[in-house]
Each structure stands twice: as structure tokens, then as C-alpha cells.
């Protein structure tokens, strides 16, 4: 078996004295889509923050494509091919759509190519290219954020709660795009509260609870227990 694109080993992280990650083990095989599910407060977003370099672990190791990364800054990781679309609206509200897209060229793809790709996937962004991103609808903002995942040709893509606050139809549309990205061979780790939506595009799934990965498996197995985990009362 080839080296996984991402391997997390016994990862611990804390906000002050409150430990949020309590020994996370997780692998994302090359070219695979892994859905990371779990109830609120399980530590999913924190895990993504540590992987993307926004937060420092207290102990444990992260290997990206077999390389041990420690203390790397988010911008360094980003230029190395790790694309993170964080939770919430991850666009610059006071910049126009086109300017947002131009900033996506840091990962090495020329700006003109970024624009072409983004507009061909999302024609709606082309219509609004001079509009400030903050005035777009929530779904359009998320399309813009996703455009970075499309255009930056990432080695690994981290998606955090793409669906937050969006109507189901729009979520479906967004995940169709994520599916297309996956078909081009990009490895994706997707954190999602809508278990079913994420499981539809996933090759593997992992469930987090209480700061640990408590179950991993095929989407079907995991899917059958997710309703229990989320609505069943796991805090």
C-alpha cells in the first residue's frame, strides 16, 4: 500500500487547559475522499485547524505525503499544496469576486487560469465578478470559497462544514462539485454535520467523539450508525 497523503498519529491539542483532541489517529489514503463525522464539540474543526497549521498540537505527529510536518505555518502549507476551506464564509467580504479569485493564485496556478476554471465551473460567479463578495448570497459565497479548491490543484483538500447555514438544494449542488474534484484524483478530508450528504461522495468515513476517532469504516456501515450518534444524544 502506498504512503497515505495524510497520516495523523496520537494527536493531542488543547485550548488553554481544556483538551479538545485526546489522541486522534486518522489516515487519508492518496486519492480518497474521507468523511469525518461526529456531533458538535467532538473536535472535528479543531483537528482541521491543527492539520492546516492554524493551531499547534500539544503532542502527536502529522505526516503529509510521508513527510513529518511540525511547526509549519498555514501559508507555508498552503503553498505546498494543502488547500483548506475553513468553516463559515471563507471569502474576503470587502473584495470583489474577481479579486478573491486572484488571491487564489498563491498556490502557483496563474491568475488567468484560476479565473477561467472558476468561471467555467460556476458561471454565476462570472456574472457577479465585480460585485463585493460580502454581498453575495451564502451559497454563492461558498461557491467562491470552493473555487479555490478547484483551481489551486491541491495535493490534499480539507473542507470544513461546507453546508453550514445553506439550503439543502445548494448543499447538494456544492457537493456535486466536490464529487467532480474528487474524480480528478484529489485527496479530500471533508468535515460535515450532514452525514448523509458527505457519505454520498466518501470512500471512507470516520466518526469523532470526545476528541477521538471512535469508529472508521465504509460509508454504508458508518451511515447506519450516524443517526444514533448525532440525534441520539451524544453531546
Amino acid at each position: 500500500m502506498s504512503i497515505p497523503i495524510l497520516e495523523v498519529v496520537d494527536l493531542h491539542a488543547a485550548y488553554g487547559r481544556i483538551e479538545v483532541l485526546r489522541g486522534v489517529d486518522l489516515r487519508v489514503p492518496r486519492g480518497a475522499v474521507v468523511a469525518l463525522l461526529g456531533p458538535n464539540g467532538a473536535g472535528k474543526s479543531t483537528l482541521l485547524k491543527v492539520i492546516s497549521g492554524q493551531m499547534e498540537q500539544t503532542s502527536g505527529d502529522i505526516h503529509l505525503a510521508g513527510v513529518h510536518v511540525a511547526g509549519a505555518k498555514p501559508d507555508e502549507l498552503a503553498r505546498l499544496g494543502l488547500t483548506t476551506v475553513p468553516e463559515g464564509r471563507s471569502v474576503f467580504p470587502n473584495l470583489s469576486v474577481e479579486e478573491n479569485l486572484q488571491l487564489m493564485s498563491y498556490a502557483g496556478v496563474p491568475a488567468s487560469q484560476v479565473l477561467d476554471t472558476a468561471y467555467s465551473y460556476f458561471p454565476r460567479l462570472h456574472e457577479r465578478r465585480y460585485q463585493l463578495a460580502g454581498t453575495l448570497s451564502g451559497g454563492e459565497q461558498q461557491m467562491l470559497a470552493l473555487a479555490r479548491a478547484l483551481t489551486s490543484d491541491p495535493a490534499l483538500l480539507l473542507l470544513d462544514e461546507l453546508s453550514m447555514g445553506l439550503a439543502p438544494l445548494i448543499v447538494d449542488e456544492l457537493y456535486e462539485t466536490v464529487g467532480q474534484i474528487a474524480q480528478t484524483g484529489v485527496s479530500i478530508l471533508v468535515v460535515e454535520q450532514f452525514a448523509r450528504t458527505a457519505l454520498r461522495i466518501a470512500d471512507y468515513a470516520a466518526v469523532m467523539s470526545g476528541g477521538r476517532v471512535v469508529a472508521t469504516g465504509e460509508p454504508d456501515e458508518i451511515g447506519s450508525i450516524m443517526a444514533d450518534v448525532i440525534l441520539g444524544g451524544v453531546a
Binding site: 467580504p93 462544514e161 453550514m164 447555514g165 450532514f194 444514533d228 450518534v229 440525534l231 444524544g233
Partner: protein, 260 residues
């Protein structure tokens, strides 16, 4: 009789609508739940009710009076208390001083004659964190800090108590005790409105539940009604093919086993 009325409230940040024509009521003496997926606008609703966020449009009525433009501290003095999802305990004070300061603020000049620390001890005892009294508030676990915020809010003798994810960070036994406390409070005439993700807790203590999704109220009713509402299923588990909702409803009824 409804104590709180949220009428057609809209909150927009830039182009994003956080609360979208939300309308709901909270009956006096009840424990009411406000649930919904992440980003549904629950905390924003709380901020609108307490005055920390001015709504783009719509009204908030408390006890029959329009308080939409009333200052934060005046609403508090009329009897609206709250806790915060992201903790707002006074970190450089001790746990006991956190409650003491709330009493100080609430009682104003009358408080100068407050006899001893009886009230403080009683409040800490009531929420079950008396053992932490001498600790600095920024050094206690999250769950304890949430209970501290509750004690602090209770010090002001609110008529309406807004709790924002109060049980996260509590263990099973603590959650149970907490649920009992809520029911007790409601019995004493302190109405509770609670944002909560622990469905067991919500289903067991709430008299009524409002479900918020994309900033709008998509369902309201008793726990039993909410449990089988397909719209709620969809809001929580995502858009799905017809027929699957029923399956989930079944599994919902079955699941009571999982501890945190």
C-alpha cells in the same frame, strides 16, 4: 401567556442573512428549546433578544412591551438573563467573586447592606459548583464555567433565562442534575429558553421546541411532535431521497443508549 415574543426578526451581516423572518413565542413558566443545525442562527437570535445585536428588521416583545430598541442593561434589569456559548466568565475573578459581582450589579446600592456571603454560597451550591468557589474562573473546566455562568445569571433573579448550549462540557450525571434544575427553575416561575445540541436533554425537559433552520423557524411543537417531523429530520441529516426520513425517525426512537 407568552412572556417573550420574537416577531419577524431579520438579521443580516453584509449579504448573509443569519436570521430570516424568525417568529416564535416563549410561554411563561415553560422550558422551551431552540434547536437547529450549526449556523442556523440560534445564537444570533439570543443576541437579538438580549440586545447585543440590533436586528435589521422585526420586533422583540418582553412581557407585552416592545424592547427592540432597549439597551442591553435595561433588558437585564427587566428580567432577561443569559449564558454564553463562547464563555464570558470573568476570568481574573474567582468563581465566588463572579457570582458576587453579579449580585453587586443586580442589587446596586441596596447590596452594600447584604449580610455576608450566604447568597453566593447558596447559588454555587444550587448549580453544584461550590467546591470550585475559590478557583479563578479561567482555570476551571468548560462545563463548570457554564454552570458558573448559570449561577451568575440566576443571581440577577431573571424572569426569562436564555441558556446557550449549557450542557456541552458536562458529563452524563451532571447533565441529568442540570435538567432537573431547569425543571425546578421553571416551576419557580423562571422561564427558560435554551439552545442545546444534546437531544436527550432537550427531549426530556422541554415543554415546547422551536426548530430553526437557515434563520427561519421551520417547526414548533412538543418533543414528541418534533421527533417525528420530517422537516426536522431533513434539517439535521441533510437533504435526502423520499422515504429515508421515516427510517431515521424509527432509529431516533430506538436510540437512547449512547452516552457521551
Amino acid at each position: 401567556m407568552s412572556l417573550l415574543q420574537v416577531e419577524d426578526v431579520v438579521v443580516q451581516f453584509g449579504g448573509v442573512t443569519a436570521v430570516n423572518h424568525a417568529t416564535f413565542e416563549v410561554v411563561a413558566g415553560s422550558v422551551t428549546g431552540l434547536i437547529g443545525p450549526n449556523g442556523a442562527g440560534k445564537t444570533t437570535c439570543f443576541n437579538v433578544i438580549t440586545g447585543l445585536q440590533r436586528p435589521t428588521s422585526g420586533h422583540v416583545r418582553f412581557d407585552g412591551r416592545d424592547i427592540t430598541r432597549t439597551a442591553v442593561h435595561r433588558r437585564a434589569r427587566r428580567g432577561i438573563g443569559r449564558t454564553f456559548q463562547r464563555l464570558e466568565a470573568f476570568g481574573s475573578l474567582t468563581v465566588a467573586d463572579n457570582v458576587r459581582v453579579a449580585l453587586d450589579i443586580h442589587e446596586g446600592f441596596r447590596g452594600i447592606f447584604r449580610p455576608g456571603d450566604h447568597d453566593v454560597d447558596e447559588l454555587l451550591e444550587r448549580v453544584g459548583i461550590a467546591e470550585y468557589a475559590a478557583e479563578r474562573a479561567d482555570s476551571i473546566p468548560t462545563g463548570t464555567a457554564r454552570l458558573l455562568e448559570l449561577a451568575r445569571a440566576l443571581a440577577c433573579q431573571p424572569r426569562l433565562l436564555l441558556l446557550d448550549e449549557p450542557s456541552s462540557g458536562l458529563d452524563e450525571a451532571e447533565t441529568e442534575a442540570f435538567g432537573a434544575l431547569l425543571v425546578e427553575l421553571a416551576g419557580e416561575g423562571c422561564t427558560v429558553l435554551m439552545v442545546e445540541h444534546d437531544m436527550d436533554l432537550v427531549m426530556s425537559v422541554c415543554d415546547e421546541i422551536h426548530v430553526l433552520d437557515f434563520g427561519s423557524v421551520i417547526a414548533a411543537g412538543t418533543p414528541a411532535e418534533i421527533r417525528v417531523d420530517p422537516k426536522v429530520q431533513r434539517a439535521y441529516l441533510g437533504y435526502s431521497d423520499e422515504g429515508q426520513g421515516a427510517h431515521v425517525a424509527e432509529s431516533l426512537d430506538e436510540t437512547k443508549v449512547l452516552a457521551r
